[in-house]
């Protein structure tokens, strides 16, 4: 196998440069690449375009990159949990492109599957359709949407092996596998890094061929955005 292990987040993101386009996995704060984000803050690289379903909260996730003004543009489906985000958006410091969540996921899929464009009905007849090509199939109208291009995809998995194979846990899977397939360079941080051969080949969610660098993350906070519980019976 091909060994993809790097020493840590700093080495993994070493060549992310000003103006790069990044994909960041996660849904809300669930399954986000915490270590990579912290390393990006430390590195201070600016003018980033971030493709991510959400934009974190003020003091966690992509919110940290917003606070340090490293993000030029967000491409997301929902960004509502972040007051610093709102301030920068309203002041014009931050560019935002809102796209339907399924379109976001499928444009990642398209990149990973080598399909230059896909058709989706999401957004037909709305402002999302403005300037886009539409086309009818079997009497239903679809928008043509293009595959994303990202310089780097940053994903977070539960387990990974030295060959770059990834396994995700529960709903922290979300956008991570499709983004992992879509980056020109894909960086995976994992909670548990194991030797090649320790994972069952049948259970791997992301084959190692899609992962260029992998490292064991540290100090996972895994914050909960909306803690909802019921009393013990």
């Amino acid at each position: 196998m091909i060994n993809k292990v790097v020493s840590g987040a700093d080495e993994a993101i070493r060549d992310i440069a000003e103006g790069d386009t990044l994909m960041l996995g996660g849904f809300g704060l669930c399954g986000i690449p915490e270590n990579c984000i912290n390393a990006l803050v430390k590195k201070g690289v600016k003018e980033l375009t971030c493709i991510s379903n959400n934009a974190g909260i003020d003091d966690f996730g992509i919110g940290l990159l917003l606070k340090t003004r490293q993000v030029k543009k967000m491409i997301s489906s929902y960004v509502g949990e972040n007051s610093e985000f709102e301030r920068q958006l309203l002041s014009g410091e931050l560019e935002v492109e809102l796209i339907p969540q399924g379109t976001l996921a499928t444009r990642c899929l398209a990149a990973g599957y080598g399909m230059p464009a896909i058709f989706t009905p999401a957004g037909v007849g709305t402002e999302v359709a403005e300037g886009k090509e539409t086309r009818s199939f079997n009497g239903k109208e679809y928008l043509m949407e293009y595959a994303f291009e990202a310089d780097f995809a940053l994903v977070k998995a539960w387990k990974g092996d030295t060959a770059g194979n990834l396994i995700f846990r529960s709903t922290s899977r979300n956008f991570n596998p499709v983004m992992a397939t879509a980056g020109k360079i894909t960086i995976a941080e994992v909670e548990h890094l194991v030797e090649a051969g320790e994972l069952d080949p049948d259970q791997i969610h992301t084959p190692g061929v899609y992962v260029h660098r992998i490292f064991q993350g540290e100090h996972y906070e895994k914050r909960i955005e909306k803690r909802t519980v019921r009393p013990k019976e």
Partner: protein, 219 residues
């Protein structure tokens, strides 16, 4: 007139045995509480889960297990987890039998607006545009009139659209209405104690109503 739970209770009656259902945020979430226990129904959460269970017991929350509203939840026996692309894949390929979501406005031709108010901070459409464009069966749970007393069932939506010609049924605090294929709201049921005349006055879009429209049964 119904409260939010009343709307949810009425909508729950639309759920049939064997349905896969996607529940939006707000009133739709409450619907889960009223699905009859004897029905086999599976809830989809579009962040990647089929078989959403109740909230976890205190102390058993799992940061890796949330729903599309980012709330901590649980799985059920038979649940499955998948990625966001497959999740919207099954939505687009119409494997979800029923979608229930909220709205700011619905028009008499089935358009819906529920994601953006010009001049206000826009948070995004999330999965709503995908859901309304793909679902074969959508019920909107909404208030019939807004806080200013204006009808939200309109001839034409005034807010930016989420989807066009996609809504077939609306349940409000006042009524259950179908949207007819040729356009117009058809009054099917009145909320307890609400008159047809009142519903007519609260509906700006075209309303078709006989004088003997029955009252809802909520049992």
């Amino acid at each position: 007139m119904l409260d939010k739970d009343g709307i949810a209770r009425r909508i729950a009656k639309e759920i049939k045995d064997g349905y896969y259902v996607n529940l939006g945020i707000g009133i739709p979430t409450l619907v889960a509480n009223y699905i009859p226990a004897n029905l086999q129904v599976v809830l989809q959460s579009e962040n990647g889960l089929l078989g959403m269970g109740p909230f976890p017991f205190e102390g058993e929350e799992d940061a890796d297990l949330i729903n599309a509203g980012k709330q901590t939840i649980t799985t059920l026996p038979g649940s499955s987890i998948f990625d966001s692309a497959l999740s919207f894949g099954m939505i687009r390929s119409q494997k979800i039998d029923l979608t229930i979501l909220g709205a700011m406005e619905v028009s008499e031709n089935g358009d819906i607006a529920n994601w953006k108010i010009p001049g206000k901070m826009v948070k995004g459409m999330g999965g709503a545009m995908d859901l309304v464009a793909s679902a074969k069966n959508i019920i909107v749970a909404m208030q019939h009139i807004n806080k200013a007393g204006e009808s939200k069932l309109l001839p034409k939506c005034t807010l930016p659209l989420t989807g066009v010609k996609c809504i077939k049924k609306v349940v409000t605090e006042l009524a259950v209405l179908d949207i007819l294929p040729e356009g117009g709201f058809k009054l099917l049921e009145r909320a307890p104690g609400v008159s047809v005349a009142y519903i007519r006055s609260a509906t700006l879009g075209k309303l078709y109503a006989s004088d003997d429209v029955p009252e809802m049964q909520l049992d």
